[in-house]
Symmetry: D2
Subunit: 277 residues, 4 copies
Amino acid sequence: MCRWLAYVGAPVEPREFLYDPERSLIEQSRSHAPGMDVPNGDGTGLGWYGRRLVPTLFRSTTPAWANETLKELASEVESGMFLAHVRAGTGTPVQTTNCHPFRFGRWLFVHNGYVADYMKLRRTLLLAVDPDLFPNVLGTTDSELLFYLALTFGLEDDPIGALERMAGFVEEVAAEAGVTEALQMTVGLTDGDRIYAARYASGPVVNTLFVSEDVQSLQLLYPQSERLARYSEGARLVVSEPLVALPGAWREVPASTAMVVDGSSVRERRFVPERPG
Amino acid sequence: MCRWLAYVGAPVEPREFLYDPERSLIEQSRSHAPGMDVPNGDGTGLGWYGRRLVPTLFRSTTPAWANETLKELASEVESGMFLAHVRAGTGTPVQTTNCHPFRFGRWLFVHNGYVADYMKLRRTLLLAVDPDLFPNVLGTTDSELLFYLALTFGLEDDPIGALERMAGFVEEVAAEAGVTEALQMTVGLTDGDRIYAARYASGPVVNTLFVSEDVQSLQLLYPQSERLARYSEGARLVVSEPLVALPGAWREVPASTAMVVDGSSVRERRFVPERPG
Amino acid sequence: MCRWLAYVGAPVEPREFLYDPERSLIEQSRSHAPGMDVPNGDGTGLGWYGRRLVPTLFRSTTPAWANETLKELASEVESGMFLAHVRAGTGTPVQTTNCHPFRFGRWLFVHNGYVADYMKLRRTLLLAVDPDLFPNVLGTTDSELLFYLALTFGLEDDPIGALERMAGFVEEVAAEAGVTEALQMTVGLTDGDRIYAARYASGPVVNTLFVSEDVQSLQLLYPQSERLARYSEGARLVVSEPLVALPGAWREVPASTAMVVDGSSVRERRFVPERPG
Amino acid sequence: MCRWLAYVGAPVEPREFLYDPERSLIEQSRSHAPGMDVPNGDGTGLGWYGRRLVPTLFRSTTPAWANETLKELASEVESGMFLAHVRAGTGTPVQTTNCHPFRFGRWLFVHNGYVADYMKLRRTLLLAVDPDLFPNVLGTTDSELLFYLALTFGLEDDPIGALERMAGFVEEVAAEAGVTEALQMTVGLTDGDRIYAARYASGPVVNTLFVSEDVQSLQLLYPQSERLARYSEGARLVVSEPLVALPGAWREVPASTAMVVDGSSVRERRFVPERPG
């Protein structure tokens, strides 16, 4: 089970969420916790929107807890939107091209979960990727393939709809191959303006997803918090696991839900896989 | 341009060819030579037949000249058949899964060359791999794909024939996509008993391939050589470049030639690409 | 807290202990267990005695659970004496030169533990290394330094005595610098003939050490075990943690104990740090 | 022989010098050139002054030509002062802690050259490092040690003087050990405000060093150059090798010379090694 986080708000140093909190993402990569049977030690990545329209990407197979470059960048970068990920591989090789985030144009994508019986389904899924997009598939993970399937199904114009068509397609291919409970996923997606996220699984067990409450309410709740005092109105985090045990700070996103988060709002709707037709 | 060597004969330490000669494979990975515009610093590999029927595989992205594990293994291993490779990438990522040799069952494969316009042709070539073999394609290079295409076209039963059908297929796919002079290759292939090799290119420039002369003739030619005195009757090397400047020691294999080398003979025939039909 | 194992007996594949048991060393590198707060994901190593008097060394920063080369070697190698290690760093960089085992001549050394306040003591300890040995110190860990201090204090002639002098010296240097409870260690040491091991800490908490019972007794206890049936008389494992939960199979070595294990006997005596004088 | 460059001027993307010119630093890492017998493939690094007083450091053992993170950062970073380096090791391990630049507080340091017979002299040189600085020595190269010796001899207050005392000390230690022609170096040093550099060798062969001519003169010389038109008055490069073959663009710094370069001037004086006394 991987871990990831997405931030939108006034520019901050990623360090504030990757390193500083008690259950920071780096801490989550290494230290055991209930429900975490193996470490997230199979690579890490940070993608951020900086001086340019396209995001900048850092990915590495060195585990997050020992990654000197990640530590440097997390303090030097200041960004109003970034995605970070720590990986626990589910069978595909530990190599940089299999590390998240994945990038296409202005888009970044992270995933926590898996495609069941992936090696059995991989060929069919890979063939469904738009031939024009195909040369961009550089790694071999299920996660990257889900991203390029969603791009094939219109992600750039209709992000949530494309994720639904991707999920529907994967389930269809799996069913034809006799694979049940095919998809397990929380996904995070950004274009520099908004965070798109979804929590979904084909079966009854669904990886968790949380969104932070609005900063103003939190500041009322915790008037003494120096950390909270610094955050801008509209700042939001979407995370696979809470970073601090602060009652009232996090809201669990229900299963089968999609979200769109920007600096002023959090909108949710049901996430319903759809046959791409 | 990569470099590789294959050895068959009485068991020796790979060190004797990888490290000791003046133009050893390791030396070739690093030091400038005519016709070598870039170093072979994008990974290395050694595959050998040891205690088991299946060969053992070591692959690494650390350049050969600085690779401590390669150095250790080259002295500890003693083997009667091995393949070694130093890589100069031609566009695909530097990662272990892209390092040679590639292995399937008892087979090992190395390649020096490229498929022209590979990113344009890759999808079509990948789709032609037998779906049962497909899950074994772990990397993203043209070289690995050539191996799995040859396996698809019957390599295990008819190695040279399968290489010819692979070459014919690649040229056909390339021609349909408007790509000319599609294939540049010297390939080395072993099954634990024999070395199969081929030298071929679609265009007029063809990477070099050499085979060592028989040991008895060499010993007559160089009666004082301690090194040569040690080698067994029937020992042979197939190499992309000579390892020593010993007149009479190496014979250049002509372009469009296939070879089968074992402990008692070197047989050659023309290599003619064939449409797999 | 690192994990390690040492084997002496009739030649076996390291795989039998590194991969096959329910709590194999590889499993211990990754999966959560009581008392293991972080994974052993900061590198791994295997040293074995093969064809040559000097042992062969494989070390890598790729975590053991994802290390393809370790997996290959653990099945191809067959050796009557080997040492394996999985590392959880305690502050020094994750780099190959900091991975265990460390090697000097015929000797291999592994360590689980630390020198308290190491960065404060390092300079003084490093200066105490015999100037002739100094160029062999290639990494920066406390573990490698303990090895070279023991070599300085006569390890090659009197292994256990030299470990005691090393421990006494480290405690003395620490005391002068105001550092208490300076040393925490289980160490494993081999010369190709015997395993030397010690369990010691300056303070009350002492990392664990276990030795396997003699094979004949185990075979009587578990007459149905196919695995046990294969092991030769005299085969022994020394491990930081039991590999299987087999009642009667492991004996915990008491704190402040040194051991010498070979194919016919396990001898123990008290381990008493000594000022090198 | 390593290669490095230092830039001071109005903020630019490092890409402009690391990737874009015909003989860019990345090109220099890989492609053979007269006087370059081996590639600079043993690691790379980029240090820059960004949002903070302390510089940010990226170092990696992945060769520069294949380093995806370096490529990303070289386009995303925009900085008015940076140092970049490509390494050809001279005996010490290929590991991140041996990659340049080295950093201490606000200072960055790069080196091209060597200490002759380093393994013989290393212990004595290391002991001379100020004990308070000693814990910062994380790698094992001669280059890092030269930096900490210069820091020991007052680099923060008197950069050039400290480099001279360092050189004098190294030569003295070498002479006592019977090592002649001890030091070969071009060094680059920055504090965020100025580039300090020196070209010196104990013997007659001295690695090269070049400084760019002032931008205004160059713009007069090449009125059509778009690239030159973009550079601010006062921008300067100090490099181990020219990046473009532009007549009149580079001036070779004489041997035994020290330089101080900032946005308005280039000052030079003789570099004379001095016994630290």
